[in-house]
């Protein structure tokens, strides 16, 4: 399949612990839109999972697009991270632990508070995406890592239903 092909995702699914919180705020139109967001805290790592599968994957690697917003402007940054858990046929025991190997994207908050920024996390074909192969299903784990380059003191608002996984 060509670059730009969109891989199906379902979810999000909050993990059993350290999950982001679901909330919403009102948009500015009349009547006001209800904007659902998942809130990622600034003081401890919080997570959200998605389930998906690779369909007609051509080996070009993957790009995860994470639309997010915040009630902030300026030069503060958020560190988004993402990782895969490959669920190969008759090979992955979901009762067993998996070590998620996160790729990192440190992004500056949008120009205006309330604007949506499109953060991207990229994965090269192969071990970088847990060696996922065409036709296989997977768990995609997204987190905000409050350490390192993450400087924003407020919550990061993930628009989860707009998260998109694309062949690079």
């Amino acid at each position: 399949m060509a670059s730009g092909a969109v891989m199906p995702l379902s979810g999000p699914i909050p993990p059993a612990t350290s999950a982001a919180d679901l909330s919403s705020f009102d948009g500015g139109s009349t009547p006001a839109e209800q904007i659902p967001v998942w809130l990622f805290d600034a003081s401890g790592a919080e997570y959200l999972d998605f389930r998906g599968r690779l369909e007609n994957y051509g080996g070009g690697g993957l790009t995860l697009r994470i639309p997010w917003s915040a009630d902030a402007t300026g030069s503060v940054t958020v560190q988004w991270e993402a990782a895969f858990r490959r669920v190969a046929d008759d090979a992955e025991d979901l009762d067993a632990s998996h070590t998620y190997d996160f790729n990192v994207s440190s992004v500056t908050v949008a120009t205006v508070a309330g604007e949506v920024d499109y953060a991207t996390v990229t994965f090269s074909d192969g071990t970088d995406m847990d060696s996922l192969a065409d036709g296989e299903v997977f768990i995609l784990r997204v987190r905000r890592n409050p350490a390192g380059t993450d400087t924003m003191s407020g919550d990061a608002e993930l628009h989860a239903d707009w998260v998109t996984l694309i062949e690079t």
Binding site: D41, A42, S43, D71, A72, V76, S153
Partner: protein, 90 residues
């Protein structure tokens, strides 16, 4: 009541970001600046403890413990910030 330890200040800072921050906070503020503010408020509370105590009415001043005096100050300030709801507000 002694000034908070560094770990106590860190936990206070983390709790503020965790429980208070969403859309009620100057999120433009970097974490480091927020932490500096926590430290400064704790230092100010220590430096002005005697002045605050003197401002309390004698009955409360001579009856309440240090913790109770701190809670009173916190309750009033939280109410001023719109974060101390009461049954009458409903």
């Amino acid at each position: 009541m002694a000034v908070l330890s560094d770990e106590e200040r860190r936990r206070c800072w983390a709790r503020i970001m965790r429980d208070i921050a969403w859309r009620a906070w100057p999120s433009d503020l970097p974490k480091s600046d927020l932490r500096a503010a926590v430290n400064a408020v704790d230092d100010w509370a220590e430096s002005n403890a005697a002045s605050y105590n003197s401002a309390l009415p004698a009955a409360y001043r001579t009856t309440a413990t240090a913790d109770q005096k701190a809670l009173l100050l916190a309750a009033v300030l939280m109410r001023r910030a719109g974060r101390f709801d009461t049954e009458e507000d409903e």
